[in-house]
């Protein structure tokens, strides 16, 4: 709390980013964990909550007649503009937030103060929901070729790896340790996924320390052991996910890639995925495009292309497809690495697993996939997502890209996933929120030292509890799309990859489809289930009646339940929304007449759920257009009323300006 200079500022305006004319007046609170904005409007008192850990940048803009604007950009792509009347207050808020957004100790993070009021037993149960040991058993391990190795017990060999790992049976401790010494940060080849059907596997590691000529017998034996663990094939692919040039440059630093001459029976392959710095810049460029105020179509498409974002997504997908094909179609095992083997390698291994195994396309399976390829294998969550104040050059949207790859696949295979888009969005949110302990630190070792399981709660249990919100109604366990490997495209199709406005513009509700097919269908299914139950009861009753009638007793059958209103309250009829700025001018088109209401807030579904479970998530997101309505309709404050009328005059001009 010592960092909060001003805990409360009144008469702050929250500016609508889409039409800057519209703003709501309210009070700003700073707490140890959140920025909270509470609207003055008496009937709603709508609250906007922003977690400090979500804050990406804070920008103080030039003071204007109305006050001091503060622009807060969040890691979950929310952008909030506040106008604070007094320069001094604004400065205080600014300085406080700068500090609050950059905690220096883990203990400052939200997860250590977040208390969902669960008892110890429930918390522990939550952490037991996802069990990697069980997962390897599900894959069919251990077996005659693969075994669980304790070589990394107490993180003796590699401190960023998990303590329990699967390796080929023929790889002795000597070979593993020897190989680890020849790999960056001692991240030796270990199993990521085992494909039961044909014994092919995906293994992962970091780059070899080969320089220009170095070699290591144990490392060569290690790769040999991986090959032997797949009796069906006489070679393995070694996939370096970096662009060739980057890999070559690493040789000068004593690192590099495998020389095919030194390893017997490998086929070496580069797949050019760019490094974290390129990805960080690419996202930055794309977000700039998303942030443009009423961009033209050309500006948007040109900016999107220029950001290169979708090209990078495609590169990751292509790599995942390559792996999945090698394993499922050729029956060849693959060893994947990049530089350290914790970014691109994690992306590619998890995309490949997802393509190969329908289990990972279920709710629980997807949690396990993230636990397996990201959390346990030491993806540096703390560094990549800037949870603690650290080197900004370490920050990069690596897992965001993976999550987007999943969404792109969901768009192409709408029946293949048990979960829906919302599930992905909430996972992305919580990777940054630090509300749960799952993504704390940079490795399993660090999390153990932090006693994460004793002191924080697990996101997976929270998501699992609310799983009804995350289901894809089109998913059916016996549907052909949910069986086996996803059909992998044979020709590269660029147009398959689309801009994900549901993620990057997710707080601009006006840009999203106004009716959700998913929620509509979920409501239908829910009703269907109720009907099924009712019918069952009725049938039982009918049977009884028939029996009774047989007994020649006259009983009048009870009329059935009144027929249900066929509308599904979640989505129907609540489509009234407010028109946007169609006048092609920065100034908004006047809208004088009363709007039809705020029904559209009901449309931005699931907000009720969010309010209960994730107050931070609902934030400013709902009722956006409702807010717009209020601002021009409610006579709250004479000042606004007069402003409104002047706005109308203005806007008439605006109409003419275009003339």
């Amino acid at each position: 709390m010592e960092h909060i200079r001003t805990p409360k500022v009144e008469n702050v305006r929250l500016v609508d980013r889409v039409s800057s004319k519209k703003a709501v007046l309210g009070t700003l609170y700073l707490t140890a964990t959140h920025i909270i904005f509470v609207e003055n409007a008496s009937d709603t008192r709508k609250e906007t909550w922003i977690l400090h850990s979500q804050i990406s940048t804070i920008e103080k803009q030039a003071t204007t007649a109305t006050g001091c604007p503060l622009l807060v950009r969040c890691k979950n792509f929310q952008i909030v503009q506040l106008v604070i009347p007094q320069e001094r207050d604004c400065h205080d808020v600014y300085v406080s937030l700068i500090r609050l957004a950059r905690p220096v100790k883990y203990e400052e993070l939200y997860c250590f103060s977040f208390n969902p009021k669960l008892d110890k037993e429930e918390r522990e149960q939550g952490w037991r929901l996802i069990d990697l040991g069980e997962e390897y058993k599900r894959m069919g391990l251990p077996n005659s070729c693969w075994q669980l190795s304790d070589v990394n017990r107490d993180y003796r060999v590699c401190d960023s790896y998990p303590s329990e790992l699967y390796v080929p049976k023929s790889a002795t401790a000597h070979i593993i340790v020897g190989s680890s010494k020849f790999r960056s940060r001692r991240r030796f080849p270990a199993l990521s996924y085992y494909y039961k059907a044909n014994h092919a596997s995906i293994c992962r590691s970091s780059q070899p320390l080969s320089g220009f000529s170095a070699r290591c017998l144990e490392d060569e034996q290690m790769l040999q052991a991986i090959r032997k663990a797949n009796p069906g094939s006489d070679f393995i692919y070694v996939v370096d996910t970096r662009p060739k040039l980057n890999a070559m440059a690493n040789r000068a630093a004593g690192k590099g890639y495998e020389n095919e001459d030194n390893y017997s029976n490998i086929k070496f392959q580069f797949i050019g995925i760019e490094n974290i710095h390129v990805m960080r810049n690419s996202l930055q460029k794309m977000l700039e495009v998303c942030e443009l105020k009423s961009p033209s179509m050309s500006e948007f498409l040109w900016g999107l292309e220029n950001s290169g974002w979708l090209r990078h997504i495609k590169a990751i997908m292509d790599a995942g497809i390559f792996l999945a094909k090698a394993v499922s179609e050729e029956g060849v095992s693959v060893l994947v690495h990049c530089s350290d083997g914790w970014d691109r390698t994690a992306q590619v291994c998890s995309v490949a697993s997802l393509l190969l195994d329908p289990y990972y396309r279920t709710l629980k399976g997807f949690m396990i996939l993230i636990e397996k390829d990201w959390i346990s294998f030491g993806h540096k969550f703390n560094h990549r997502y800037g949870n603690l104040d650290a080197d900004p050059k370490e920050i990069s949207p690596v897992v965001d890209q993976f999550i987007e790859c999943v969404w792109q696949l969901m768009e192409q295979f709408p029946c293949a996933f048990e979960f829906n888009e919302r599930f992905l969005i909430h996972i992305q949110h919580h990777i940054y929120s630090c509300q749960f302990g799952n993504f704390l630190g940079n490795s399993q070792k660090e999390r153990q030292e932090l006693k994460v399981q004793e002191r924080t709660y697990s996101l997976w249990a929270h998501l699992w509890k609310n799983r009804a919100d995350y289901l894809n109604p089109l998913f059916r366990a016996d549907h052909s799309q949910t069986q086996g490997t996803l059909p992998l495209p044979t020709t590269p199709c660029n147009f398959l990859y689309k801009f994900w406005s549901g993620m990057y513009n997710r707080f601009e509700k006006g840009m999203q489809p106004r009716q959700s097919v998913t929620d509509h269908l979920m409501a239908v299914k829910e009703e269907t289930q109720q009907l099924e139950e009712e019918l069952e009861i009725l049938e039982e009753r009918l049977e009884k009646i028939q029996k009774v009638q047989l007994n020649r007793t006259k009983v009048k059958s009870k009329p059935s339940e009144p027929s249900r209103h066929s509308g599904f309250s979640t989505s129907d009829n609540s489509t009234a929304n407010t028109p946007q700025d169609y006048s092609g001018n920065a100034r908004s088109f006047p809208s004088r007449s009363p709007s039809q209401g705020d029904e559209d807030s009901a449309l931005i579904l699931t907000q009720d759920n969010l309010k209960i479970s994730d107050p931070d998530l609902s934030g400013n997101s709902d009722q956006e257009s409702g807010v717009e309505d209020l601002s021009c309709r409610s006579p709250s404050g004479g000042e606004r009323a007069s402003e409104d009328s002047s706005k109308d005059r203005d806007s008439d001009e605006a109409v003419f300006l275009t003339a």
């Binding site: 292309e305 147009f495 028109p579």
Partner: protein, 533 residues
């Protein structure tokens, strides 16, 4: 003329057909007067039936004596036929070329088509102007039917019956017609029952360089305003273009003469600019070699989505004037036959729930684009060729496709508010370019009358509105929504219409399965509901 004269080789054996996402098929190729047919003569294999009028362009090439014809269709599909024998191949190619570019409309398939279904409801009589007018006359007495255009005496491209303000007599209307491009005087397009505001449409006023005015024109459109109220004139051309039009005798309404009206200029592109945009877009979609970046850049250079955004924005603006500003709107461009129709019809989709139903949408197309009452998108001219043509005629233009695309964009944003589905829009697109039905033949009502389409051809609606067909076009998610729906026109909200443009370039299997799954979920629910009542 006999078709036989054009068909030098009616039949070739051992022809191999290549289509995207299907295995090659070997079979016998037959040419008839209107169809190209390939039959493998095996059971259970699909045959290819292609209307000659669907063929946009063909390429031929030879390797030895094996000829190959590449057929590019107006629905953007590309198929390949390998024909053994150089002479046969040349004959087939020249026949296809001749048969796909017949000059005379009366030789086209709709004049020969004999329906295999029983006509329950004749589509030619489904949307009579009197009936449509009744929908309004129950709500207002400010408008009347006028028979002034009987025999097309006043305006060739208007139908015989039009709706004009009650207070304006036919004599005045006649004078107004001389002041508007093509005689297209302002007529009622849409009446907003909620507040009595209207959308009118017309041709541009013929002010010329010396600022000619027409008192009757001013009186006519002022008659639609309530006391003390103002209206908006939306000119679909930029101010610059509208000013240039004065040199050719056209122009726009001067503020001085129309003080109660505010004029807004938007710039919706027309004619060959749209056609070139379509050609570039389809080229980009068919090019599978380029990298991710070039795909987006090609999509951008085609400008197709820019046109979509511009048209939708203008329609939203018109709807906003009506519903939010409570102001009537007059919409025109130059002729009032293209961008004007896009805007008036999309505004109605936004404002009026009825036009989001299947029957209502058909009525809208009839009213705004075809014969009844308003009349006159020159379909024959605009849709003679499609994306693969190289004739580059000024009047060829995918105006109607852009309209359908805009409807799809709104449908995507409001997936539960439309009674029809995407398949319905795609089907309409197909029939506009090549059809067995007469609905989209001819350029305007008077031409359509001369062709005796009603007597000699079948209406598309007669087929569509059969219960068995309707079910295919019905959106299972539909729930009547009586609100105005405001679509987003932000670039992030607009997408390439994959169902049209990527239809032949990617497998739709998984999307089709998803649709089926959706139908099943809803059907099963309905079944249970029926049981439990």
């Amino acid at each position: 003329m006999e078709f036989a004269e054009l068909i030098k080789t009616p039949r070739v054996d051992n022809v191999v057909l290549h289509r995207p996402f299907y295995p090659a098929v070997e079979g016998t190729l037959c040419l008839t007067g209107h169809h190209l047919i390939l039959s493998s003569r095996q059971d259970n294999t699909e045959e290819l039936w292609l209307l000659h009028s669907n063929i946009d362009a063909i390429d031929k090439r030879f390797v030895g004596s094996l000829g190959t014809i590449i057929i590019k269709c107006k629905d953007f599909r590309i198929i390949q036929l390998d024909i053994p024998g150089m002479e046969e191949c040349l004959n087939i190619a020249s026949s296809i070329e001749a048969l796909s570019t017949l000059d005379s409309i009366t030789l086209m398939y709709p004049f020969f088509y004999r329906p295999m279904f029983e006509v329950v409801e004749d589509g030619w009589h489904s949307f009579l102007p009197e009936q449509e007018f009744e929908l309004y006359s129950s709500a207002t007495s400010e408008w009347r039917l006028s028979y002034i255009n009987k025999e097309f005496a006043v305006c060739l491209s208007y139908p015989p019956i039009v709706i004009v303000p009650n207070s304006i007599d036919d004599e005045a209307v006649r004078k107004v017609a001389t002041f508007r491009h093509g005689g297209r005087f302002p007529v009622l397009s849409y009446y907003h029952k909620k507040n009595g505001m209207v959308i009118m449409r017309s041709g541009q006023p013929l002010t010329g360089t010396n600022g000619r005015r027409c008192k009757e024109d001013e009186k006519l459109i002022n008659a639609t305003l309530r006391a003390g109220k103002r209206g908006y004139i939306i000119d679909t051309r930029s101010l610059n273009v509208a000013q240039q039009a004065r040199a050719k005798g056209g122009g726009f309404e001067q503020e001085a003469h129309y003080p109660q009206w505010r004029r807004i200029h938007k710039s919706i592109e027309r004619y060959h600019i749209l056609q070139e945009s379509l050609i570039k877009l389809v080229e980009a979609c068919n090019d599978q070699t380029h990298s991710m970046d070039r795909w987006l850049s090609k999509l951008e250079t085609s400008n197709w989505l820019t046109h979509i955004k511009e048209i939708l924005t203008t329609a939203c603006l018109a709807a906003q004037c009506i519903d939010r500003e409570a102001a009537s709107v007059l919409i025109h461009g130059t002729e009032g036959t293209d961008s004007t129709l896009q805007v008036t019809s999309l505004a109605q989709i936004i404002l009026e729930p009825r036009s989001r139903t299947i029957h209502g949408f058909e009525a809208l197309i009839e009213r705004e684009w075809l014969q009844v009452r308003k009349a006159g998108h020159p379909f024959q001219q605009r849709c003679a060729q499609s994306a693969y043509c190289n004739s580059k005629q000024k009047w060829e233009s995918p105006v109607f496709l852009l309209f359908l695309d805009c409807v799809w964009q709104i449908l995507r944003q409001f997936p539960c508010s439309f009674e029809f589905n995407e398949h319905f829009l795609i089907t309409l697109f197909e029939h506009v370019y090549a059809s067995q039905f007469g609905t989209f033949l001819g350029n305007n009502e008077s031409e359509r009358c001369k062709l005796k389409l009603q007597q000699k051809t079948m209406s598309l609606w007669s087929w569509v509105n059969q219960p068995s067909e309707l079910s295919k076009f019905t959106n299972p998610l539909f729930e009547a929504n009586n609100f105005v729906i405001w679509p987003s026109v932000a670039p992030q909200s607009l997408q390439l219409w994959e169902g049209i443009f990527l239809r032949w370039n990617r497998s739709s299997k998984y999307l089709d399965e998803a649709y089926e799954e959706m139908v099943n979920i809803i059907e099963y629910n309905k079944e249970l509901q029926a049981k439990s009542i």
